[in-house]
């Protein structure tokens, strides 16, 4: 009897945990409003293209690369040391300094604009 209850409990707990995981994943994806503005599209690219894996958004400390908070409020870009302008960020994406991989083939020209628009909001 106790073993039967144990089996049932295990099955129910497993089902609830898996259902919660599935529901949470669907909820999170579906709850996000469609990206409309350039910066919203850039925010989506920031996640989809994996920038998030190496750069903190809300602080300046290094993760793998430098944190990007207030990137355009700084005088210079953290890796290249060049002035913090849209053109230099675009250049960093295509021909990066330091260990950062090139996004020349992974982002279109328009996508780079969107990403820069997003970085300006940080």
């Amino acid at each position: 009897m106790r073993r039967t209850r144990l089996r049932h409990t295990t099955a129910v707990v497993t089902a609830v945990v898996l259902a919660a995981i599935g529901a949470a994943a669907v909820f999170r994806v579906s709850a996000v409003a469609p990206a409309v503005t350039p910066s919203q599209k850039g925010a989506r690219l920031y996640v989809d293209k994996g920038c998030v894996q190496c750069h903190f958004l809300r602080k300046r400390e290094f993760r793998v690369g430098p944190g990007l908070e207030g990137l355009f409020d700084r005088e210079t870009l953290p890796a290249s040391g060049r002035p913090a302008t849209a053109e230099n960020v675009r250049s960093q994406l295509v021909q990066p300094y330091d260990q950062m991989p090139s996004f020349a083939d992974r982002l279109t020209e328009v996508q780079r604009d969107h990403l820069i628009a997003f970085l300006k909001t940080l």
């Binding site: 707990v13 945990v17 949470a24 994943a25 999170r28 996000v32 920031y46």
Partner: protein, 438 residues
């Protein structure tokens, strides 16, 4: 039923709590598959942390289920947590992170730490599932389990803190700190603080009595100032002997064979392993840390049941003996039929006391001894406990009896199969699964 349900609901809420919190707080999603990977990690970590609470012998958690069932639930949840944590990197890779996450060598330290924790988790689970097959004795397995468990938890916690997207959210950071601290705190209390506290208040061995071939009863008296252990007949306790003389100091669990109606506490122990082979060397005056009682294998939890059948094999008689002694001392009028299987006449434990009890009225006891290797002079039953014997013992209505079965696994399995054959439902079969690793 209700107390158990409350605990199960609380467990589920704690297990899925981080998932719900992260989903509600919102974070830029990548894809459904990627998010599944993230949430698998959150739930897997919560389950891992809860493992420490399940195994810590916390009475409030254990009471409605019994420790044997709770420790099996702990095993089931270990499998679930491991499956979720294995799925975590696979889903992240499939959901957008790419195979570099799995195979790339150029990874940040936090990713490597996560991989290391995953490998240790798999090692821990495999050693637990295949402990006997890899010939790992219980003490060494427990030592490894005690090292690997906290290592995995700390590795996973630091990995998530340094690398997890959701851990950038302040509420989840707070949750993570609380969950990790509670799990590790529970572990420290369970493995270090409580054993130290119990060792400072040891019971004293007041009698050592041989009962049968290789079987001894050890009686304990509580330390001065402490009341006797408040247990139910049929429960068990954990005992750590401090005997000196270079005898091993290990914690083992044994059924309490005495009845709570007496002023002493006793366990009857068979010399079957490395540690128990030294049990006969225990002397009066030795001390022992006692932690208990645990378990729900007791007839007093079912006062409405009047007709009982006890089926014991070898040393499996001990919880049933505790119950019979309790019935005798409380002048209980239940009807009990005891089927007691042993190999030889000299291996029958408590034979004199059982036979004497069968002549009394409390309980109304009938005894059938069964020997598998009897001598020529044995006039009783020969062979094993099988369906025909149980049918004969129980008459025409075996399905109306309640069966307490305790003994080695082959006997237990055979008796349960026979009872099913006789139409006895699981709800009327009570068993104690004494080994935590079976």
């Amino acid at each position: 039923m209700i107390p158990g349900l409350v605990r199960i609901v609380a467990y589920v809420l704690l297990a899925v709590g981080p998932v719900v919190l992260a989903a509600l707080l919102g974070l830029m999603p990548r894809s459904v598959v990627y998010e599944l990977g993230r949430f698998c990690a959150l739930a897997g970590f919560a389950l891992l942390a809860l493992q420490f609470l399940l195994a810590a012998r916390i009475r409030w958690i254990e009471r409605p289920f019994g420790f044997d069932i709770l420790i099996r639930f702990h095993r089931h949840m270990a499998i679930l947590a491991t499956a979720l944590i294995v799925a975590h990197p696979l889903l992240l890779a499939a959901g957008g992170a790419g195979t570099d996450l799995l195979l790339g060598l150029d990874q940040p330290w936090a990713v490597w730490l996560g991989k290391a924790a995953l490998v240790l988790l798999l090692l821990n689970v495999l050693l637990s599932v295949f402990q006997r097959r890899v010939a790992l004795d219980f003490e060494h397995w427990r030592l490894l389990h005690d090292i690997l468990g906290p290592l995995v938890l700390v590795g996973a916690a630091v990995h998530a803190w340094a690398w997890g997207q959701d851990l950038r959210l302040f509420p989840l950071q707070v949750t993570w700190i609380i969950v990790t601290a509670v799990a590790l705190g529970t572990y420290v209390v369970h493995r270090f603080v409580r054993p130290w506290w119990l060792a400072g208040r040891p019971y004293r061995v007041s009698a050592v009595r041989p009962e049968a071939d290789g079987v001894w009863t050890i009686e304990f008296t509580p330390p001065e100032g402490l009341p006797p252990l408040d247990y139910l007949p049929g429960q068990f306790h954990f005992v750590t002997f401090f005997r000196g003389r270079e005898l091993p100091v290990e914690e083992h669990h044994w059924t309490i064979s005495s009845s709570p109606t007496t002023d002493h506490l006793a366990s009857t122990i068979k010399a079957v392993g490395d540690f128990t082979s030294t049990i006969g060397e225990t002397r009066v005056g030795d001390t022992a840390a006692v932690h208990g009682p645990f378990g729900r294998y007791s007839y007093v939890l079912h006062p409405e049941e009047r007709d009982l059948v006890f089926v014991a094999g070898g040393i499996g008689i001990t919880p049933l003996m505790s119950m019979l002694r309790h019935m005798r001392d409380t002048r209980d009028e239940r009807s009990v039929r005891l089927v007691y299987a042993n190999r030889t006449e000299s291996s029958i434990v408590f034979r004199g006391e059982i036979d004497e009890m069968a002549t009394g009225e409390h309980p109304r006891l009938r005894v059938t001894h069964v020997l598998s290797r009897p001598g020529d002079e044995w006039t009783g039953r020969r062979g094993h406990v099988d369906t025909s014997l149980l049918r004969e013992i129980c008459g025409n209505q075996p399905e109306s009896e309640v069966f307490y079965v305790c003994g080695p696994t082959p006997l237990r399995s055979a008796v349960i199969a026979s009872l099913h054959e006789l139409g006895v439902p699981d709800s009327r079969i009570r068993i104690e699964i004494f080994s935590f690793l079976d």
